[in-house]
């Protein structure tokens, strides 16, 4: 039945287009699409907590980093191949998220947001001291690691396709969640948590579930991303700036919508890529991100998708 909904196919087509864009040889485009895909994965998973349930997760990057660490540790110290390693990372991080979640999801609004920062910083400080994971030095993968995928060049392409697949899964996940009873409950929590509880929505369970679910795909993406770089260290893995950007992107594109984070991520990545190589503006990235966010929060809290929906209400049926 869901197959009849046009949006389902729209996501699918977008994914294929993404995968096909570099045509298997444009490496530079691929590199920037990799980053776009990472942003989309982070933003759409964040969106489920932020846009649906109304909980700001400032430290969402912790899932990404931990996923990277689990994957690289399993591959370097235990010789696991790529796919099992990233999946194991995803499961481990989801489980940890569930445990953390039980603790911090009791907190509302602001307290929760602060706690998520605390969690990220605590984890980073811990990993910095944790010798089995390399401490501050991090984990290096030797160049031979890419042989299992046919050498560095083809490995990079495979990682790219896997990331696109993960991205597609993220979008589908947000879509299915939104369309489900679970999603309805989450949206209710986002509107008014107490009322939702009174009306019978099992709020603690739903919150813990979505927190845990929103950790899985970012962790997988982390594993893929750091495998590609063959190197992970704490400041890169737990970079709060990426979390920040994920929030900006989600708000920019339109929180609570499916395409919103994807659109926002895409635009933001293009902007960032341009800023990066422009000598004068490379440090302006944050300024622009901040200014964008401010404008959106003050004047257009629904983001781009919100604006689109208001202008063309019929679009809501096709694009959400």
């Amino acid at each position: 039945m869901i197959l009849r909904r046009p949006f389902f196919w729209i996501i699918g087509i977008a994914m294929l287009a993404f995968a096909a864009a570099p045509l298997g040889k444009n490496v530079e485009l691929r590199e920037s699409l990799v980053l776009a895909a990472v942003y989309i994965i982070l933003a759409s998973n964040l969106n489920m907590m932020l846009g649906y349930a109304g909980y700001v997760n400032f430290g969402s990057i912790v899932f990404f980093g931990l996923g990277g660490y689990f994957c690289l540790f399993l591959m370097s110290a235990r010789d696991w191949p790529l796919i099992p390693a990233i999946l194991a990372g995803g499961i481990a991080v989801s489980f940890l998220a569930f445990l953390f979640g039980i603790g911090i999801l009791r907190l509302r609004g602001v307290y929760f947001a602060l706690a998520t920062i605390g969690v990220n910083e605590a984890v980073m400080a811990f990993v910095n001291n944790f010798e089995p994971w390399g401490g501050a030095t991090g984990i290096y993968l030797s160049t031979g690691i890419f042989q299992q995928l046919g050498g560095p060049a083809s490995a990079l392409w495979i990682v790219y396709y896997l990331l696109v697949a993960t991205m597609g899964l993220s979008l589908y996940l947000s879509y299915f969640v939104k369309r489900s009873k679970f999603g309805l409950g989450l949206l209710a929590i986002g509107q008014n948590e107490d009322a939702a509880a009174v009306l019978g929505v099992p709020t603690p369970r739903y919150k813990a579930l979505i927190y845990s679910a929103s950790a899985f795909l970012p962790a997988v993406a982390g594993g893929l991303y750091f495998f590609k770089g063959a190197f992970i260290q704490p400041p890169d893995a737990f970079d709060l700036q990426l979390s920040t950007e994920a929030i900006v992107i989600t708000m920019l594109g339109g929180q609570g919508t499916i395409l919103g984070p994807a659109l926002g991520a895409f635009l933001y990545e293009e902007l960032r890529g341009w800023l990066l190589t422009s000598a004068t503006f490379s440090s302006f990235q944050l300024v622009i991100a901040g200014a964008l966010l401010l404008v959106i929060v003050l004047f257009a809290p629904g983001g781009l998708m919100g604006l689109l929906h208001r202008r063309w209400p019929n679009l809501k049926r096709f694009l959400e």
Partner: protein
Amino acid sequence: MIGLLASILDGVLVGAVYGLAAMGITLIWGVMNVINLTHGAMIVAGMFGLYFLVAALGVPAYAALAPVLVAGFLVGLALYWIAVHRMVGQPPLMSLLSTFAVNLVLIGLGTAAWGTVLFNVQVSLPGFSIGRYTFPGTHMMAAALTAAIAGVLYLFLYRTRAGKAVRAVAGNRDAAELVGIPTTRILALAFGLGVALASVSGALIATMFPFTVLSGDAYQLKSFVVTVLGGLGNPTGALVAGIALGLVEGLATPFMPVSWTLVIEFALFVVVLIALPGGLLSLRIRRRRT
């Protein structure tokens, strides 16, 4: 033994200044339910303010604190009207994001202007030595000034009309409106005060340690930890919690690798948030009542 005492005392001195910084956040939160995420940027602004007054204009360091305080207040007023005013009634999420956005802009501009070069304000004050240990004069002076500023704030909040109005709005905004208090102006005032506290604590920190544009983040996090420990909305709590945190750090560092203190701080932070949302002080209060 003396080493341990020295460590604790020094921790307390520096902790007091962190407490002052935290007071800025907690005051704003208490009055208008807004978490000011520009706090870090304002601390850095205070640091830079001090630096320019001292380095460019040759003003003696401690005299420069007053203009920094006043400037911070004015900037706070401006920030209120730009980013916070529209957000006051709305879900806390929005004000969180709007102050966060302003923070990004400010830090971004700062980085673009000053890079991430280390700045240092040379303040030489004779230290106080006990045996082999020396307490830097700057730490002692900073703690003393913190006490002074906290004292002035107390007097303001409890002995002046404006201060009482602030406490009234913090207690119940609607009721305050009903008795004729111009609440919007009071909110702006409170925000200005909070930012002033942030910037003057930044200036004090700058007399002790060097800083970069990015230092704000670390101090903002520390301020949050202290604020939470002291109970959101409780200025006295913030000061006490700052001192307590300094004490804990001073107590812990001789016995464990310094790199673990961060882990402990954040773990404490998360634990207190979960178990004691009223802060550590809420424990004492509960016991007193029974």
